[in-house]
């Protein structure tokens, strides 16, 4: 699997996701600078976490307007898979590739902690190595990860199975106790209609090695390798 990771001024988890992809695939992903309107053909585009443009104005807003995102939109339309993590999720929604938006955490504070996620479906490129209903543990680290969409959008998302992950308690119960940021319906990650674009706030790339917080994020990358090689 050939992966490209976008780098914006202020990105800061690009190294984490590169390390994860390299560990799983044995292959170094290509790092693509935001100003590059074109980049080599790739099987997967990753928009990584961080504080692109300082997260000023609105998270992801300025990065979404960069030349490289125009190219990402073109490729996404052709079906090239796009994975947006954390700030990447914010950028991808600002760019209109995913529905909804991410607003300030309901408690207004930055939160870095392990959370539990319920996998909503295994029917996607990104989640095929998980089982539907499986509970995994991965960290979050954000101040603006509170997923919000209007009722119509939510209904569409739910009807079409576009919710990828929900925050839950360790036993899988989806309720307020496991929700770290106030996300509506505990939504932690969503797909586009064709499930070729996925965005999520948690960091599977920081759950790859047992000494450093567990391995529950590994299957996401393994699933991608399986689908895309």
């Amino acid at each position: 699997m050939k992966a490209a990771i976008l780098v914006f001024p202020g990105s800061n988890r690009e190294g984490d996701v590169a390390q994860a992809i390299e560990l799983v695939t044995g292959r170094k992903p290509e790092m693509v600078w935001h100003g590059d309107g074109d980049f080599a053909k790739t099987d997967l585009i990753v928009v990584p976490g961080g504080f692109s443009y300082g997260d000023y104005l609105r998270c992801g807003a300025m990065a979404a307007q960069s030349p490289v995102m125009a190219e990402v939109k073109r490729r996404a339309a052709q079906g090239v898979p796009v994975l947006g993590i954390c700030n990447g999720f914010q950028i991808v929604t600002e760019a209109g590739l995913l529905p909804g938006t991410l607003i300030r955490n309901s408690h207004l504070k930055f939160v870095c902690a392990d959370v539990h996620l319920k996998v909503e479906t295994s029917q996607s490129l990104f989640t095929n190595r998980y089982q539907a209903g499986q509970v995994i543990k991965v960290p979050v680290a954000h101040a603006e990860g509170n997923y919000f969409a209007d009722d119509d959008t939510l209904k569409r998302l739910e009807d079409r199975g576009q919710v990828a992950f929900r925050y839950c308690a360790p036993d899988g119960t989806v309720d307020g106790s496991g929700n770290p940021n106030g996300s509506i319906r505990n939504i932690a990650g969503v797909f586009n209609e064709t499930k070729t674009v996925m965005g999520l706030m948690p960091h599977p790339e920081n759950a790859i090695e047992s000494v450093f917080g567990g391995t529950d994020g590994k299957a996401l990358f393994e699933g991608l390798v399986e689908s895309l090689s």
């Binding site: 104005l57 609105r58 807003a61 300025m62 307007q65 600002e94 938006t101 607003i103 300030r104 955490n105 309901s106 408690h107 207004l108 509170n146 919000f148 209007d150 106030g182 509506i184």
Partner: protein, 80 residues
Amino acid sequence: MKARVHVTLKNGVLDPQGKAIGHSLNRLGFAEVGDVRQGKFIELEIAETDQARARARLDEMCRKLLANTVIENYSIELVG
């Protein structure tokens, strides 16, 4: 000239900051405070003398960057 842009959340969109401010004010003893909404206020210097053109450009800036029209409204004011 100078322009002022207000960006506010649309009705029905959750406003965690506004809610928290309202809450805090109530707890600080400002019981008279009801609903609170927080928006942004952006002041820009613009090298443009034509009012109509300035307004059109600002409108474009708002749609492209300053506001997220999925959840936000904006209004433009030209000064001086």
